[in-house]
Symmetry: C2
Subunit: 146 residues, 2 copies
Amino acid sequence: MNDKLYSITELAEEFDITPRAIRFYETKGLLSPQRAGATRVYNYRDRARLVLVLRGKRLGFTLEDIKEYIDLYDAERSHSDQLAHLMLVGRKRIGELEQQLEDVQTTLGELRKIEAEARDALKARGLDPEEAVQNLGRKLPAKAGV
Amino acid sequence: MNDKLYSITELAEEFDITPRAIRFYETKGLLSPQRAGATRVYNYRDRARLVLVLRGKRLGFTLEDIKEYIDLYDAERSHSDQLAHLMLVGRKRIGELEQQLEDVQTTLGELRKIEAEARDALKARGLDPEEAVQNLGRKLPAKAGV
DNA sequence: CAATAAATTTACGCTAACGTCAGCATTATG
DNA sequence: CATAATGCTGACGTTAGCGTAAATTTATTG
């Protein structure tokens, strides 16, 4: 059931990125799909890797970081040195992410406070906050993406 | 008690960045210290802003994102439109960060699993994991920072 | 006050992560 | 089968975020 195959544009559309980006990740060693002739063909594992890449990006890691991270999954667990190295790199990343977790939580707290204050201030003026937000779209020149 | 002033190098050293970076943030409108003649002088508020900038960076935001975010703090809360806008932008960021929170937690979980597995595998070979990690430093050409 | 040391501006350089052609081959379709 | 549509490989262009060097004040210190 996991034998489904994907074209490059299918993946691109699914994840809202460009084929160019996907090819670029390949040149960086993050993906290595099969080929049918010259055409790239992605299987379920390739797709899973792409998911990891995109999540890594959302977390602000560089593609090189992400490669190192992905390699943790595929690392040989044959030599003890490999295993020790796995632990070492894993711990480093864990440390980084724990810091990031703290940052995210702090910032979320601050933002929620700001939003709540703004909402209260609107209510105090006898306005419906949701309505006020809606109205912005009509007054302003239309900002973000359809 | 919060009237302490800082030179650019003091801040740079405290946060382990370069003066060049701090000046760069200023050109992007993220900081606006006073001047004593031509020399930049930073007060407590400037320093607090810098902290926000650096945290934003750790979260993977662009400097432009960070500017928008910082501006939320200083936004006028006089007009209702401003308040509604504040809510809108705040919610957008909150959404992003909630996604990021999920990403961080997922990735942390995966990494902890990998690290634990590596540790168990080493133990199963009768090795002390900590020792094995230590030994890496002596065998390998010395990789990361001091 | 002469000699450093520290700051400033200006400007060019560099890397990451793609975007954007160009030119060509392959595949799909009316 | 003519014509799109899709894909491939270069190769150059672009933006963000500083690094680095040069030339020039400004500050500090023996």
